[in-house]
């Protein structure tokens, strides 16, 4: 009975690690193939350097101050909603 339990534990360990590795190996292969296919056959148009949020304000000092103000406003706004 206890031996059976040990045997079961061993089975789970061996099969389990085997399947985990096999499955992730498969995933590595499929992912690599997929990435190659996507990159070669369905390339994305190079994203035009989008005006990222961070880049919008030019002057860092004003930026700092404005951000504070805006956060305060958002805070107030959120508090009021409660």
């Amino acid at each position: 009975m206890q031996d059976a339990l040990l045997q079961q534990g061993l089975d789970i360990t061996l099969f389990g690690m085997g399947i985990v590795f096999t499955f992730l190996l498969l995933l590595v292969i499929c992912t690599t193939v997929m990435s190659r296919v996507m990159t070669r056959f369905f390339p994305e148009p190079e994203p035009v350097a989008a005006p990222s949020p961070a880049s919008a304000p030019q002057s860092p000092a004003g930026d700092q101050r404005l951000r504070k103000i805006i956060q305060a406003a958002i805070e107030q706004h959120r508090n009021r909603r409660k």
Binding site: T13, L26, L27, T39, P43
Partner: protein
């Protein structure tokens, strides 16, 4: 109030202290700790179904009816009634519930939460969907080899299973194979996976398993570094990795579908967990359902977390939690984390022996999951050895691979345990 209930309330206050003061996974441990206190309020029966409340009431008339419904003799003890209830076929259990309802008993609040949120399986799955919606597979796609690190770290799971059955074989504990599998999953370092698996395989141990999983996840910055230092040389820790390539939006959209198809073909028992995970990730990446993705990452996951936490707390009732098994679970759990960490690091070193694109073995430990703490630990140790060595993004690959790996391991164990206990 029994001594057990008192001790559990103290334990739960301790959990709340760790969560609030030490920031131990507070999103889960605050609700779990609070739910644990509620579950131990004497006389409130918040964690009991109507039938168990009826049994606990000790009303002779009701007990007699229940004995009859469960096919027992007239003068059975309360213990044998409880045991009969647990092994009763569905029809007899239904009949017992009706008797309790007729006697005016009703299910406790936490019991209802547990039933709706966990026994049905829905809460861990919804949280997995939310986690999927928060996960960026970019670093993994840029370097798919890191999946092997996520695979190796799952050895912590299986070594723990072995440890648990060895303890049973040695007569120290009394774990069944299902118990052992559920305990092992702590090594996956992934809360919802651990809860999902133990709700299926060992509901009685769910409280201890969830508490162990979340506590050790919070302790990752303490558990991992010594192991990582012991297994690597200063020189290995200094290895700088090449910058990750840009991963296109389309690759990110297709990846969850590739993963889903592989699951569909080879691992149907992991389909609920990985299916919901991929669904969340697809909602995130596809860019056309940002309403749904936002909700999955915010309102929905928060609501689910509240009820999941309280439900797990219901399993901290003294009569279930205060058991030698809990000590065994806590001991095995930390071993699981340690072995998983070691296996990840060693796998990274092994990969370096066969490949010329060297990986820093410090990122191997991130394969246990515990997103994003484990990756941060890798980064911190990397910076210690080499102040220009930013490993964070490189470690995110094995980190999310660890989530996939433990979900796969969960699927395998559920299948095998069911076949064994069938």
């Amino acid at each position: 109030m029994t001594i057990g209930q008192f001790s559990m309330i103290v334990v739960c206050l301790g959990l709340l202290f760790l969560a609030i003061r030490k920031n131990f996974e507070p999103l889960l441990l605050v609700p779990i700790g609070f739910g644990g206190i509620l579950a131990n309020i004497p006389g409130a029966n918040l964690a009991l179904p109507a039938v168990e409340a009826a049994i606990a009431s000790g009303d002779a008339g009701v007990l007699a009816q229940l004995s009859q419904a469960l096919g027992l003799g007239a003068s059975e003890s309360i213990e044998s009634l409880k045991a009969a209830l647990e092994s009763a076929p569905a029809a007899a259990a239904e009949r017992a519930s009706q008797i309790a309802a007729d006697a005016g008993f009703s299910n406790g609040m936490l019991y209802n939460f547990y039933n709706v949120a966990i026994a049905s399986g829905v809460a861990p799955l919804v949280i997995f969907m939310g986690v999927g919606a928060m996960t960026d597979f970019g670093p993994l796609l840029a370097n798919p080899r890191t999946l092997f690190l996520g695979a190796a770290a799952q050895f912590g799971i299986f070594a723990t299973v072995l440890g648990a059955v060895a303890m049973s074989a040695a007569g120290i504990m009394d774990f069944s194979i299902a118990d052992a599998a559920a305990i092992g999953i702590i090594g996956g370092a992934d809360g919802p996976t651990a809860i999902y698996v133990s709700s299926l395989l060992a509901p009685d141990l769910l409280g201890a398993i969830a508490v162990a999983a979340y506590s050790y996840m919070a302790l990752v910055p303490l558990i991992q570094p010594p192991i990582m230092r012991a297994l690597t040389t200063e020189q290995e820790r200094r290895i700088e990795m090449v910058q990750l390539r840009h991963v296109s939006k389309r690759e990110k959209i297709v990846f969850p579908l590739v993963l889903l198809i592989l699951v569909a073909l080879f691992l149907p028992d992991a389909a609920p967990l990985l299916g919901m995970f991929c669904f969340g990730n697809l909602m995130r990446e596809c860019g056309v359902v940002s309403r749904l993705s936002d909700t999955a990452q915010n309102a929905l996951i928060n609501i689910t977390t509240i009820f999941l936490g309280l439900s797990v707390g219901s399993k901290l009732a003294a009569d279930k939690f205060l058991d030698p098994k809990t000590l065994g679970i806590l001991a095995l759990g930390i071993v699981a984390f340690a072995i998983g960490t070691a296996a990840g690091v060693l796998m990274a070193k092994l990969m370096n022996t066969v490949s010329k694109n060297k990986v820093n073995p410090l990122i191997g430990s991130a394969g246990v999951s515990a997103v994003p703490m484990a990756a941060r630990v890798s980064n911190k140790l990397g910076l210690e050895a080499n102040p220009h060595n930013f490993l964070l993004m490189h470690a995110m690959g094995p980190n999310v691979a660890g989530v996939i790996g433990s979900a796969v391991a969960a699927g395998v164990m559920i299948t095998m345990v069911r076949a064994m206990t069938g």
